[in-house]
């Protein structure tokens, strides 16, 4: 009935007898992982429990930043035409030895090929290894169209051949879906007819090895003794799944966990005042926006859009909706992202000027819809309330707005319609720390009718973003993205509302924890004071 593995007897006894000496870090996580094969999923909660502790990627994000550093690849080179990336693999990397698998060889190029071929090759035996397998992120990042081939040059060298030059490729390979799996483990599961165990009993090269998962309750990991980057300072890592925000904070205060994410904004003051706790904070790599439908009059007129933007009181939204846990957004990318153009001046809150500008464009008695998402997201904790505030702001400039909503799945689908009636509240959280992941995905001509909810296609903007995508010169890319943000601000396809601020309360025994700008929770390199 239960497949969860248990390292019984000796291990349990050893764990208890050494409990006094072992350093165990308890993280009160906000939800259960959907599984442990990160390539199958898109949720951060799942990545925190799978790809972050258990796996490595060819390249990694440096802890606490979006900088790409070597991972399982020691180094890499790009061809001059930007179509080939050659990765030199690290030697002597060990996969986890657990109660259910003992590796006989080190990591090599076969593992890299297995990892990606199972996602891209429909003929691969692992392409549909469990019912309803879908490689959402791999597809979502357009990898099937981007990768022409992956070639094993030798055991320690792999070459990615692309169909078109695309500089965010290396950053994409640091994402969770690119976590390197063990081909040897896959072969052993296949031989035993237990392929689905790949998603329940993971084997990786990461800093922690999986020990056990009690569904919806506890996940246990142990530091990987042979980790290529050295053993972790802590011995054991435990995820105590605690879904309610208030209860999580009570557990933190009571010392039942060391780190607990997503506090209620109302609890922050008390948490900060607690002498046993520390509250770290960081701007999230996200943006919440109101996207006009630029294909429908009068929103096809940039002056009308800018006038409406001036009618919105962002500070009131920050106070009422974010309760202080947000900052006003002026650009479509967050300030922590490289190439953020800080020279841009936001459309200031000025209802009088807004009303005059609308009248100048002949817009009187305008009625419109504001779509409010039915769910709370990091970039918008309460869309209904935000919509109501904007509705009141618009009423003050003579625009009659009606707030509308749909079930979440329907909302995402209907908001893509090119002839959609109304402006949509939505947002985005960055995947790979690259500006392209915001500007191209959300605002390019090719995303119209898809993730470009403004249905906005501007040639100047598109040329700049496409040029930046094809360039591998960081300085040139930065300059191009800065110019693209200027075009965006002039054209105002969105009202940029806010970037949320993420808070992470933790026991002051926790040392060297670094908040991840990409929103993940990582415990490699973290220590506990005695």
């Amino acid at each position: 009935m239960r497949k969860t593995p248990f390292v019984l007897g000796c291990f349990a006894a050893a764990l208890l007898s050494s409990a006094a000496h072992a350093k165990t870090l308890v993280y009160c996580s906000e939800g259960s992982p959907e599984g442990f094969d990160p390539a199958l999923y898109t949720a951060g909660t799942t990545f925190n429990a799978s790809s972050k502790p258990v796996y490595n990627r060819l390249v990694e994000f440096e802890r606490g930043s979006t900088k790409i550093i070597p991972g399982l690849a020691e180094s890499w080179t790009a061809s001059d035409d930007g179509l080939e990336y050659t990765f030199n693999l690290r030697k002597g990397v060990k996969f986890h030895t657990t109660s259910y698998f003992t590796p006989t060889r080190d990591f090599n190029a076969d593992d890299v090929l297995f990892t990606f071929n199972r996602q891209r090759d429909e003929g691969n035996a692992w392409h549909k290894y469990t019912e309803g397998t879908s490689w959402e992120y791999f597809s979502g990042m357009d990898m099937p169209a981007l990768i022409k081939d992956i070639v094993k040059v030798d055991d320690n060298t792999v070459k990615f051949i692309l169909n078109r030059p695309e500089s965010p490729t290396v950053a994409n390979l640091a994402m969770d879906f690119a976590s390197i799996m063990s081909k040897e483990y896959a072969d052993s599961l296949e031989a035993a007819g237990k392929q689905t165990d790949m998603n329940q009993m993971p084997i990786g090269t990461g800093p922690f090895k999986f020990v056990a998962y009690q569904k919806d309750a506890v996940i246990r990991y142990q530091a990987h003794g042979d980790y290529w980057d050295g053993k972790q300072p802590i011995d054991d890592l435990v995820f105590a799944i605690t879904t309610d925000n208030s209860v999580r904070m009570q557990k933190l205060k009571a010392g039942e966990c060391h780190v607990a994410p997503y506090p209620n904004p109302a609890d922050l003051e008390a948490l900060k005042a607690d002498p046993n706790l520390e509250v770290q904070e960081q701007e999230g790599l996200n943006v919440g926006y109101l996207a006009y439908n630029t294909k429908v009059a009068p929103f096809d007129n940039a002056k009308v859009r800018k006038a409406l933007n001036m009618a919105i009181n962002k500070q009131a939204i920050l106070d009422a909706v974010f309760e202080g846990a947000g900052i006003a957004a002026k650009n479509p990318i967050p300030p922590t992202m490289w190439s953020y153009n800080d020279a841009i001046v936001d459309d200031g809150y000025d209802p009088v000027a807004a009303k005059a500008a609308l009248e100048a464009e002949g817009v009187t008695d305008l009625s419109m819809k504001i779509w409010a998402m039915p769910v709370a997201r990091p970039y918008n904790p309460n869309a209904r309330r935000m919509a109501e505030l904007i509705q009141a702001d618009f009423a003050a400039v003579g625009v009659n707005a009606e707030v509308t909503s749909y079930e979440w799945g329907e909302y995402l689908k209907l908001s893509k319609d090119e002839d959609r009636d109304g402006a949509v509240l939505l947002g985005w959280t960055g995947d790979n720390g690259d500006p392209d992941n915001f500007l191209s995905v959300l605002l390019s001509c090719s995303s119209v009718g898809g993730s470009n909810r403004a249905q906005w296609c501007n040639k100047d903007f598109d040329d700049l973003v496409n040029k930046a995508k094809a360039s591998s010169d960081a300085a040139e890319r930065t300059s191009l993205y800065e110019q693209a943000q200027v075009v965006f601000k002039e054209q105002a396809p969105w009202a940029t509302i806010a970037h949320s601020v993420v808070f992470m309360p933790m026991s002051n025994k926790v040392q060297n924890y670094k908040m991840d700008p990409l929103g993940g929770h990582r415990f490699d390199g973290v220590d506990l004071a005695e």
């Binding site: 599984g35 019912e131 309803g132 557990k251 009571a254």
Partner: protein, 335 residues
């Protein structure tokens, strides 16, 4: 008695078929579909959307899907979760013991306090004691569970530090869960202090979950007792000079128990369906929260088969209640 039992069991079959229709239809009439929710803000191309729908079989006519679902059920296949890819039956039985354990403790607490409280209130009718008990029961019955649970956690776990905040056992203890019932597994593990820790973790959730059934049982016991205490045979028993304790405890109580058992049976059924709020507050890995999460993700196989399994359990509990009636009241089994 056997005829009575057979009749009850035969009646379960049409009920069961009705439930398959309701549970299958329920999740499909909700707007939104699982594929769109899986993709989230990132979206999904139309071709991929169609391919996934076809892979899950959701592009076929609804009656075909229903017939296949029934066919699979008959063959013991309850389907796999769209999210975790695990068999629904296996997930259900992994989580169900936690729900049963908590429900069992709560109902025991509710019975052992609720019935005596109701009897005392009835025998002291109109006194300060009666009013205090019934007043408290009314407060318990009206208690917002989420608020009540958090309040207990803040006072007993936060301020006083007497009980753990949430979970089923201290994270220090780690052993294989042979039965899924933490009280039993902790004893079987042989680890010192494990059982005590499991009991400690049960205290607050049991109190919270027992609050409403306790109030209902107390009120029901009181009104049933009052009715019975006014009957002729009770007056006769008193007139014969029997001790008051014997009149109340033997003559009146047994007859007053019939409506109380109905209430207990209904409460057990509800508790076994999963206590969503209590499970959420106390991070209790039971089926209530599992079902709610699955509904919000439109995880069709989990919702339809989970509802069916829960309904089956409630039906079995109802059957047991009917049998208990028969045992207590010979008139029912002879009807």
């Amino acid at each position: 008695m056997i005829g009575f039992l057979l009749k009850r069991i035969l009646l379960l079959i049409p009920t069961f078929i009705g439930i398959t229709i309701v549970s299958f239809g329920f999740v499909r009439v909700l707007p939104g579909d699982p594929v769109l929710l899986m993709a989230g803000e990132r979206g999904i191309s139309e071709e991929r959307y169609a391919a996934l729908l076809s892979e899950f079989g959701y592009d076929r006519p609804i009656w075909q899907q229903y017939l296949e679902y029934l066919n699979n059920l008959v063959h013991g296949d309850f389907g796999n979760s769209l999210v975790t890819k695990q068999p629904v039956l296996s997930e259900f039985f992994t989580l169900f013991p936690a729900t049963v354990e908590l429900a069992f403790c709560a109902i025991i607490l509710a019975i052992f306090i609720g019935i005596p409280a109701g009897i005392i209130a009835a025998t002291k009718r109109g006194t300060f004691i009666d009013q205090s008990i019934m007043g408290t029961a009314l407060v318990g019955y009206s208690m917002p569970i989420f608020w009540w649970g958090l309040l207990l956690i803040i006072v007993f776990s936060g301020t006083l530090g007497w009980t753990p905040v949430s979970g089923r056992i201290s994270l220090l203890y780690f052993f294989e869960q042979k039965t899924g019932f933490m009280l039993i597994d902790s004893l079987l593990s042989g680890q010192k202090g494990a059982f005590g820790s499991a009991v400690q973790h049960l205290i607050l959730p049991t109190i919270v979950l027992a609050t409403i059934p306790l109030a209902v049982i107390a009120r029901q016991t009181r009104s049933a007792m009052l009715e019975v205490l006014g009957e002729d045979y009770v007056r006769t028993a008193r007139a014969k000079g029997l001790a008051s304790r014997r009149v109340v405890g033997v003559h009146a109580l047994r007859n007053a128990m019939i409506p109380v058992i109905t209430v207990i049976g209904l409460s057990v059924g509800t508790l076994l369906a999963g206590a969503i709020l209590t499970e959420t507050i106390f991070s209790w890995p039971g089926i209530g929260k599992w079902m709610i999460d699955s509904i919000s993700r439109r995880d069709y196989p989990v919702v339809q088969s989970g509802l069916l399994l829960i309904a089956a359990i409630i039906m079995i509990v109802n059957l047991l209640v009917d049998i208990t009636y028969g045992l207590i009241n010979p008139r029912i089994r002879h009807q």
